[in-house]
Symmetry: D2
Subunit: 487 residues, 4 copies
């Protein structure tokens, strides 16, 4: 039986370092093409669209705008509202716009990696925004370097734009060049590509990353998630299909589907964690999927208890599902401090014992003397989970039953999620029982993979669950190989 | 019957201006007194304590530290983590510390108004942090000006510190001078006062503003709310009593209670809106009070419906209570964008039709075709409420039943809440039926005052509900009089 | 004979720290009173006036403006153009304005010390800008503290404004209260005081700090130096007299001279170093005074040489004078890097040998093989001087003859110059011969005090030369006493 | 005869816009290669070197450092000390370093244009810093674009680095690839190129832009001007020859000179205006050249006068020369405000009459009642010159005789000086007499081209004087053609 006091004093230096304790969010892309004769503030719409996608990346953001002749852009480190003010948005006048929010890896030259990337080429100016990761980027980069290409960033996106430009020499149209690029690259991508006069939306052949199409008054819209369509009052038209190239030109929208249909492999973690609950991806509601996961979790791992609570915000939907399935009342037992952000100072070693309930605090009256079921969407390194269990026990919970609405994460992701090796994954090192002990919970249950894959009810796609089962849809580097995060 | 389309196109210029649509949060105070021989990082503790109180004020913050000889301080505009970094905290070495977060009114000299205010006086250095509002500050200020006092801010706190200093000429101790100050001033206050070697906590005679005492390893702690005690692992000892002066000196804590017991009048809105749900004030749990308000609301204003949802975050607790009372399932139907902050650009007139669902978006699958009960804690101007109803209807809600877990706000507050006159209060101008029409809801029900006042279960205090019934515990200025916000 | 190589490798840790090697510049004040019916951009004029006075203080600046009803202000750390932009100047609308630039001492609460200080008092709003230092500030402060006054800064200016406010209780007019304040305080001051409707200019009874009056189209102007009048195209009217109170009210200017005439004691270092060469103070031209000092220096300390050069910018005028007196050609031999400012990184110990000619570099062709006379205005600590001599020798100068156009500084200043004790003064510790050796010069000559005091040709005042001869016009603290810098 | 009053009230909107009134300064480059076994702080040296070159560009700066394996860099907008602090310099650890200061043209993507440009290529990492302008950059860019190259900036430097990379496919060594690049490009350049392990310095075949080699303890140094060698205590070795490639590798320095000797064409304006007076370029002293120009000007355009003054700082050397040649005493008559920088607010239309003497003020005692000769190095648009003449007349100068130490500028420069067309050049539109009238001078004399070209005494090069005589050493675009500024 776990001894709470011991845990609290544990000397694990990473214990408070939650930066690594969530799989990092990915990038988001957003595009607007206004139809001729409509006065649409495309930069303004993109600002609000990126705002709705901010959860997909908080480190840098950018907007590029075309007036059908010239592309101008602004990008920088920071949150969307930190980078853009009214003056800047007024400078970005045009009829088409591409935006990007980015979760950026560390490094000295981070600012150079902000997107959209905007270049001059034989196709004139090109702007490219990319969500995803290219698995064979290093190899492609080396090949092109041999042939005299230079690279100014460590960004996969620069590889893509160079490939498109090379192929355009032997192509009639930009979309033909994009098609050839899609043959070369292995990986995940939701892309928006803009020339001075035309816009393309592209989704990788497996559909690993999402991309959807909407329409608002006088304009077409492309976005990583449907919540960004809602933000700008655009009607959802449909998801871009895996392997599809959407072309918006001369006020018309058309498609090229150069590849044979493959088993599609949408990233299951879009439903588990990444996407906003109000988004609908490939016809399945994100919130409904999480709620359903909670119900299935209750069936797979029932427990006698007095209250079900969720870890805010990611475990709330599943907790309500768990409660409804079991009849155990749903309650609020944890409060999350909304002001913990990038500049928060982590407690130093000496402060850890005193500063334990800064990010999450328990509501004592809700848990005191009770048997508590606590639901979260996933466990990566386990340190946050352990702290939450401790906070509940300190507040007087009689029992704490941890339930996780997805299976143990055992394999690294090569398609956009920032888990660079197995070393950080607690489920790769420990058994479920060992994890239970490590996090000081009375019982621990994970939703099964079979259960999880049924949760996006009504989805029209298959899923990539490689991080859970190791079945990568594309050949990936040997473990231990270095690879750069693409997005 | 409300016509959704008309509302959406309404030309009310304030429609999107939500800054005035919530009663603004107040200030928070926090103090640490470390006992002799203990190495306590008092500035670090204060940083985490203010972090936990950040919801009470986001415009400025400050920390003053004493090493028992000299007080040094740092304060500025912004959030706690924007103002303090490791280097700055390391400069603030000492054994006692006072911190403050402030909701500041607009004005050219705002930075001067940041607290704690630190002065040199016949008592040596004094630091003062104040949560509350002094009703007769202007009169007191004028009297002192006549006698040659100068004022460098428009802050009530400067009035208090001048009064204390004046009275110290005829007083044996600092606490005696504070007592005399308490006779002079009319208003609400939770104060922390620090000299180079001693700390005082003071609560106004009616106990309008909260203040509590805790103890952590080697230190006494004072805080506006108990959630800040939790953040630094301090044990809650007790609330400071109305009219009590707590003195911490020579490693001992003692009290002076100079006034006859009065009917205490804790601000009821601490439970309705201000305080964090995990706080316990005057023995009542904030979250439990809100949950209870939801239950009573269900009894007072029942409705047939398919789902109960709460406006995040303030309406969630009451929505769960409403659901549990009625048996109507609790669900998630609204998502709040967590990244909307001070620098967010409000949509311009031309953008309003397109940018409606930026701050709150509906989860379509949760509300489509359903009869929805939506719960919020209060309605001030009504514009946010109307937009939320519209968002739900646009997402397909068949009916929207608005329930408010507090009564209509009809009177201005003179004790710290930033409603400067009746003009902004929709409930002062319109009947409940007119408000229902204005916000486009199918039905509207407010919790009664009687119901609300019973919700802080186990509270040991009476309440000030002047903003709801006009019964001010202290004589206040005539309506229309100018008065400055104190905190 | 000095061995250049030894000096270069000296291990004196302060060797490169030039911050202490010049007597720091003081504050500057500027005021505008626009006559009724004239549309004068008073904040704009003050911006340009402070720009011209920027050499008197680079650490903070501020402008307060009155529209004859209310005073608004803005002040911050930094240079004038860093603090004020067009938007801010447009906010400062009014018909009277007071500005200040400040050389500020170090300390945690520096921002609080920025001026003008603006308060509310029985006289309504008051703004005060002060150049100078009050010798008995501590004593006055303590007296007022005993009587219940609080102080929010360590600034002498707060003492002055409290005194004025106290005395206004027993005075008919503001000027009468100022008169009484002048009886209380001992020290140097050039003040500008502004109520909502009236402006006062005040100079201390000894006239230690300068202040002058000008008139431009539609407005009266007050300024520390005449160069600021030139900057706003104002005609110089006259210097304010020692002990005079100038009152500008109801579009009229009048004076009160409450004191008997004293021997005036204008700070001689205004001519030696502080003031801009294009200023005229008490009827003497600053540039002409420096030129004259160079001529007298040539007579007192002749030398055979090939070229005379000045240390830019402070030694140039005297060098031309020396050249004209002796017939030795004037030349350019040193270049000063114009970009060395507050944020320049001083070379670390390891870099000193390689980074010697960053701030001053020699023009080799001008000095190689020549006997060089190098002129500077003063020597404080000697380290900069030594480095300049080394640079010249390294460039091939055969001989380097140092000439200083003022006498050795042996005593601290209590009236505004930032030399806090004798310890830093090389001339207090070493004889002229020892200094010569320390700075590696072949010969060294200082202008005599008699010579210096004759140089401000046509001046209508006597001088304070206490830092040179120890004859303080006012009783000063014992050496070693702490005292705060006033300005 | 010029009527001063009229001029002062002239309504020319550009009258105060001095940004265009000086030919803009160019870029500066600096490189350090430390020899094996020496602990040299290469980033620190580069910081001080760029400091000494700051006059050549104030808009952006950057430093790239190699530890013989990897290149890291930092660059940003602003002055050197604004961009680099101690923490940043400590991050830039290595044994080789390249730095750049840039005068940048306006545009939305300015930050992207900061240098050094650092890329990954078949040669590994490459860093390139460039001073100069490539005349045929557009054509080369288009050719490469046709072959599939993308460009991320509008910077000529990106053209150069792409060319070098292309040619490296068919080259044995990097220097061979550079040679081939030199055949392709037409224009001016002083380049420093760095791989992870080797450094190249390159000067264009006509030697239009300067570059020199120095040696300090344990390191070779390359710099645009010798004053930067002095700053880091490096001995001047020699100038890089026109068309020479200097290679520093394996601790050895060697050269390739692939081209036949051409008539060299060093930009004469390096002596007239760009370079620092303490620099020596191609064996001629800059200060001595300016002094000599003043002497020749006195011979060509003698005048009877009482005093000779220079416009600070650019006209001082020539003024001393003029004085020595004629015997008319040299004096100080103008003061320049040292604090006028990038953020200075230009006076608005309404302020112009009042704010005339902000940047330059006259010293009245030096010019009143006198016949004044005023010397400047050049006149571009004439507006600054006119204002200076006005300031002198307003101060009482009886006569003002303008003398210019270079000939009228009549032709645009395509090699790095920012005069984009003839339209801005007063000397292209007006005769000397008309200019004299426009600037309100009593007489006006320009130094002849013959005279000027003799002034860099001892120079080993011929000169490009195309902006004075239209004789471009390289074929240039037709007037009116757009071209981008390279540096």
């Amino acid at each position: 039986m776990c001894n709470f006091g011991d845990c609290l004093k544990c000397s694990n230096p990473d214990c408070f370092d939650e930066r690594l304790d969530k799989m990092h969010e990915e990038c988001g892309v957003f595009g607007v093409y206004s139809l001729d004769g409509n006065e649409v503030d495309v930069a303004g719409l993109t600002y609000y669209g990126l705002y709705a996608l901010q959860h997909r990346g908080q480190e840098s953001a950018g907007i590029a705008v075309s007036d059908r002749e010239t592309i101008v852009f602004h990008k920088d480190m920071g949150l969307v509202p930190e980078i853009f003010d009214k003056v800047m948005l007024n400078h970005l006048k045009g009829t088409m716009s591409v935006g990007h929010v980015r979760y950026s890896t560390t490094g000295a030259s981070r600012r150079e990696n902000a997107q959209p990337i905007v270049v001059r080429s034989r196709n004139g100016q090109l702007a490219l925004a990319h969500n995803g990761n290219i698995v064979n980027a290093s190899m492609l980069r080396e090949q092109m370097e041999e042939n005299g290409t230079i690279f100014q960033t460590t960004n996969d996106t620069e590889v893509l734009i160079n490939l498109i430009t090379k192929h355009s020499i032997t192509s009639e149209t930009l979309e033909e060049a994009v098609e050839k690029m899609m043959v070369d690259v292995k990986g995940s991508y939701g892309l928006i590509l803009m020339t001075a006069s035309k816009m393309l939306g592209v989704r990788d052949p497996y559909g690993i990353r999402p991309l959807c199409i909407g329409k608002t008054a006088g304009a077409y819209v492309l976005a990583s998630e449907s919540c960004a369509l809602d933000a700008v009052n655009a009607e959802f038209i449909r998801d871009v299909e895996p392997g599809e190239i959407v072309i918006i030109e001369n006020d018309e929208i058309r498609s090229v589907r150069p590849f044979n249909k493959k088993d599609t492999k949408l990233c299951i973690f879009e439903f588990v964690y990444f996407a906003r609950p109000d988004s609908v991806i490939d016809c399945a509601s994100v919130q409904q999927s999480r709620y359903e996961a909670g119900k299935r979790l209750a069936i797979e791992h029932p427990v006698e208890a007095d209250v079900v609570i969720g870890v805010p915000d990611s475990g709330i939907s599943a907790a309500i599902g768990f409660s409804n399935q079991t009849g155990i009342p749903y309650g609020e037992g944890l409060v999350k401090n909304r002001y913990v952000g990038r500049t928060f100072i982590q407690p130093s070693q000496g402060m850890r014992e005193v500063a334990v309930r800064i990010k999450h605090n328990a509501i004592k009256k809700s848990v005191e003397g009770k048997r508590v079921v606590i639901i979260d969407d996933s466990i990566v390194r386990g340190t946050t989970t352990r702290r939450i269990v401790q906070v509940l026990k300190k507040a007087g919970a009689k029992e704490v039953h941890m339930r996780v609405s997805s299976p143990p994460i055992k394999f690294p992701c090569y398609f956009g999620i920032d888990i660079s090796s197995r070393k950080e994954l607690v489920a790769d090192k420990l058994s479920v029982e060992e994890i239970r002990e490590m996090i000081c919970a009375d019982t621990l249950g994970y939703l099964s993979l079979e259960g999880l894959l049924k949760t996006p009810i009504g989805s029209k796609r298959g899923f990539c669950s490689a991080c859970l089962d190791g079945n990568y849809p594309i050949e990936v580097p040997e473990e231990g190989d270095k690879f750069s995060c693409g997005c």
